[in-house]
Symmetry: C2
Subunit: 320 residues, 2 copies
Amino acid sequence: MTGITIGIDMMGGDYAPDEAAQGIIRYLAKSDPALDLVLFGDEPALRTLLPANLLSSPHISIAHAPQVIGMHEHPLKALKEKSGSSIAVGYQWLAAGKTEAFISAGNTGAMLVAAMHSIGVIPGILRPAIGAVMPNAEGGAAILLDVGLNADSKPAHLDQFAMLGSLYARFMLGIQQPRTGLINVGEEEGKGNILCQATYPLLKNNPELNFIGNIEGRDIFSGRADVMVTDGFTGNIILKMAESVYGISAAKKISDAFFDRLNFEYYGGIPVLGVAKPVIIGHGISTAIAFNNMIGVAKKMIETGLPERIKNAFAAYPAA
Amino acid sequence: MTGITIGIDMMGGDYAPDEAAQGIIRYLAKSDPALDLVLFGDEPALRTLLPANLLSSPHISIAHAPQVIGMHEHPLKALKEKSGSSIAVGYQWLAAGKTEAFISAGNTGAMLVAAMHSIGVIPGILRPAIGAVMPNAEGGAAILLDVGLNADSKPAHLDQFAMLGSLYARFMLGIQQPRTGLINVGEEEGKGNILCQATYPLLKNNPELNFIGNIEGRDIFSGRADVMVTDGFTGNIILKMAESVYGISAAKKISDAFFDRLNFEYYGGIPVLGVAKPVIIGHGISTAIAFNNMIGVAKKMIETGLPERIKNAFAAYPAA
């Protein structure tokens, strides 16, 4: 054992468990010895999917979890009725410290509800958020949040999203003083909807942030900000619209570094920020590429100690 | 005189008056005899810009309006202090019936405030909206509204935006039963933020609409809806993000019919819907292409009698 152990839900997503298995094979082809993987799913099925060398590897173990929570099941109901599901068992291991991160491309609602109930929210966090790494046309990338967990957000939530995003940009994207922008419909202070008007002064006065002011829709891909803060409604529309631009460019066989990076699989998945341990939710249509990249992101979240850093930051600077 | 007379603010926009003049030259090169143009601006300056054949044309007249409302001036204050501005005089002519439509790439706020005060809002309309024609990857286009007039919208406003958009799609885009979608973060009824949850039943129960339910960020370019309804905050972010995608693809010299149509100049400008007469606001950076297309859109709004049709529809089906 190396100290880095990541749990993977093998039953989540439209292409489970095959693509999850292929993603693991892909990741391990880079032969990362500093990693142990625990695969949650139906053991007999998984044994037929993985090659003998992986099944006999001391770094791979299977935790039998034969039940599956479907993509459209009611999260709370499904979790109650399916205690043997890959998501439920995966979180049991994470909460018990037997794994250090958990990855799933399964039912997003179930992943979030289970996170709250098992590992819990970091003290001081009003609402966890989910973030998406968005590429820009300058070759860099920013973290956009919230992308859908909080359809209705309040100013204090956005202030916290800004802090969560800044910590992500700093430790995961390697940007020392992340430029943090508030997504709005005008540049000057005082512009925008009621939410943004009330949020602006909070961000401006938050000493933990390098706040650069409002940014607009045209700045999403411009590289102006490293952290793009918005409510979960707007963030989700932006994310899905960006994904669709990739889909269109791919269908047209446009080969370009920027449009290619709009492929959600490039960044792998969506980290849940504000919960006590690293959790990554993949797109329902994740393939091996996404699983491979999600393992890399989860590993980095463990190595950088991101949840602990978030905990310390929120202890030092509680909610506005 | 032919009965179709369009007023153009020659002093609005970053490239005024040159690009407005070039746009007119471009439009008239197609020699549309069924059109008279009134140009509002500094007469001596305009006389140096336009060729002799246009200046001597019975279809072109200049209304001297030497003052200019700058792009960043406070709308109400500027209108009060500059009664000789091209925007103020342009609306005086429109309100008096001496022109039938008004086009400007100038100060958006001033254009809207002046519209309310001069020609006024159609009875029953709670809030006018501005709409953007958005191309889709299937070769068609939809009207997206509101794109920025109402940063905070209420369910009844969105219901009216849906009606305004449907009428625009029907008479301007030629779509008989425009499929009207509510931009949201989930497909099923009951999903989304508080605004969308409350708006959904209004749209569903509005007999004037062909409501197809919620649409998501990935549907903006998919061609699923002909009318895409949203609040002015979300709509503005979507519009500017779409414009930036064009900017990126143009900078990369990607030549593609869809990405090319994301150029805002292709559709010319943003119609103001819900005011008593056709008004079109252009992008501040409009060039001749945009002015040329705005003239065409204004002409069609007059020919189809769009404001009158809106008036009749709202008289028959008042606010929810």
